[in-house]
């Protein structure tokens, strides 16, 4: 969490950050009702591996600590179990908010964000989803491993070779061309339009 990881021109503290989150993040308006009870952090199965629990992260948002929030590994380590969502006494959709913060971190170009496993995986995943309309688990995994570089690609590939072979043998992974939607062009057009609307909205 050093200043060098922030994109040029970004401020460490930004008082308007909380307002921005309240107004632009999916479920952010409910985050305004967070009463800092900590049920979310206490319910998190992976809380010990987070820089900050969701409770603290939300308080950091209120304190305007934009950089610390968007470089926190919390937004990447969320396993999307939704424990916090169903337990929050103020009905704050914690998981959804963490997801959108991750999107924001990538969009704003925070270095940690771009290097996070999750961001790499998301890139590979979206590549498949957008290109083929479907997740080809084999290609996504390979593309993800490849994002770490060729050496890592080989290393991880070898480590998971047994699993991969097992999956192929049990016909849960197939070789050859990926499955894909029939009307790929149609999907592409929809996604392009959606991205265009979103870009317009957030300026």
């Amino acid at each position: 969490m050093t200043a060098t990881t922030a994109p040029a021109g970004a401020r460490k503290y930004d008082l308007n950050f909380a307002r921005w989150v309240y107004e632009n993040v999916d479920g952010g308006e409910r985050m305004a009702k967070c009463m800092q009870c900590g049920v979310c952090s206490g319910s998190c199965p992976i809380g010990t591996q987070m820089d900050h629990g969701p409770r603290k992260l939300f308080m950091m948002i209120r304190a305007g600590m934009k950089e610390a929030v968007l470089t926190s590994n919390t937004i990447w380590n969320c396993v999307s179990c939704y424990n916090c969502v169903v337990r929050c006494p103020r009905q704050v959709p914690v998981t959804y908010i963490l997801h959108d913060l991750a999107t924001l971190a990538v969009k704003e170009g925070y270095a940690e964000a771009k290097q996070a496993d999750n961001a790499r995986f998301a890139k590979a995943f979206w590549w498949s989803a957008a290109k083929y309309g479907k997740t080809d688990e084999r290609l996504v995994t390979m593309k993800y491993y490849y994002s770490f570089g060729f050496g890592e690609f080989i290393k991880r590939g070898r480590a998971n070779q047994k699993i991969a072979l097992g999956m192929i043998k049990t016909k849960r992974m197939h070789l050859g061309m990926p499955h894909k939607v029939k009307k790929g062009g149609e999907l592409k057009a929809i996604l392009a339009k959606a991205a265009e609307i979103e870009a317009k909205k957030h300026g």
């Binding site: 337990r87 999107t103 989803a129 993800y144 339009k193």
Partner: protein, 300 residues
């Protein structure tokens, strides 16, 4: 009497969870369920799509599926995959709640001359089985009860969270100690263990990309199953099944354990108990860790 649903199998049906898809399609007619696939379904975006794709493109993915479902008829949409359900149900409910979102999704869909009015109901197959079919109807189809088979019912997260207790989610179970899966187990004549890790998280997609962060989570789940003498772990969730099954070798290597516990879908247990073919219908030949105990229980 047969009830028809528009069916959204999801990407895993063509890969890691092909055995869920296969076994479900096998038991559906027995339970009076007709599944008609969404004609040209696409990926739901899972739990990472938003990061690279963004919020609205993510919604548009579900929007396109729902627009097709709408064109196929007013019947409810059903999906067996936790993530597919989560995203599609969420998108549907958000579009119903927000005129702004509905307009934006439809604006995106218009690029392919499609439209969705947000009048459908998106449901999880498990909820359909509980609310529309019932445990008795499942029991009624059992010809080979799985006598003596000890089953750790592992529900996981997203099948029940965050919608199982909501009205639109069918209000069919609770979040921390859901009962439906144990009831499925009992319905097929097997023994449901008191499994405290039933809604513990397997790490989800984080396990796929960074297993070093989450192996301990799966270890906890397997440990309890082993301590309680489970023959198999049963789950409704594609990613739970894959994670908990395929990482056992790595877990054993890291923690010095000796797990070798089959992880199957509830639908596979039903298929066997309904007297269907263990491989062709129940797809038990698609297990990485074979589960001969099931056939044995059914035979004995």
């Amino acid at each position: 009497m047969t009830k028809k649903f528009t069916y959204y199998p999801g990407c895993s049906s063509e890969g890691s969870a092909a055995h869920l898809d296969k076994s479900l399609r096998a038991i559906a007619p027995k339970l009076g369920v007709e599944l008609e696939d969404i004609a040209d379904w696409n990926c739901c975006g899972a739990s990472v799509g938003h990061i690279e794709g963004g919020h609205l493109p993510m919604m548009a993915l579900s929007g396109r599926n729902l627009a097709q479902a709408q064109a196929q008829g007013p019947q409810d949409v059903a999906t067996p995959c936790a993530a597919c359900y989560l995203n599609t149900h969420h998108c549907n409910e958000q579009m119903r709640a927000s005129e702004r979102l509905k307009a934006e999704v439809n604006e995106a869909l218009s690029a392919a001359s499609m439209n969705y009015d947000a009048n459908l109901h998106v449901r999880h197959i498990c909820e359909v089985l509980v609310n529309d079919i019932g445990f008795e109807a499942v029991e009624a189809q059992v010809v080979k009860p799985l006598k003596g088979l000890k089953v750790a019912g592992y529900v996981g997260c997203q099948t029940v969270r965050p919608f199982a207790a909501t009205e639109r989610g069918g209000a069919y179970d609770e979040y921390d100690q859901p009962k439906f899966l144990d009831n499925f187990t009992r319905a097929v004549g097997a023994e449901a263990l008191d499994f405290q890790n039933r809604t513990a998280c397997c790490g989800g997609s984080v396990s796929v990309m960074s297993p070093e962060k989450t192996l301990h989570l799966m270890k906890n789940i397997l440990e309890e199953a082993q301590e309680k003498g489970a023959d198999v772990i049963s789950t409704p969730c594609p990613l739970c099944q894959t994670n908990v099954e395929m990482f056992q070798d790595q877990i054993n290597a890291q923690f010095g354990t000796n797990f070798q516990i089959p992880v199957v879908f509830y639908s596979q247990l039903m298929a066997v108990a309904f007297g269907l073919d263990a491989d062709k219908d129940a797809a038990l030949n698609q297990q990485l860790i074979p589960a001969p105990q099931i056939a044995k229980a059914a035979g004995g």
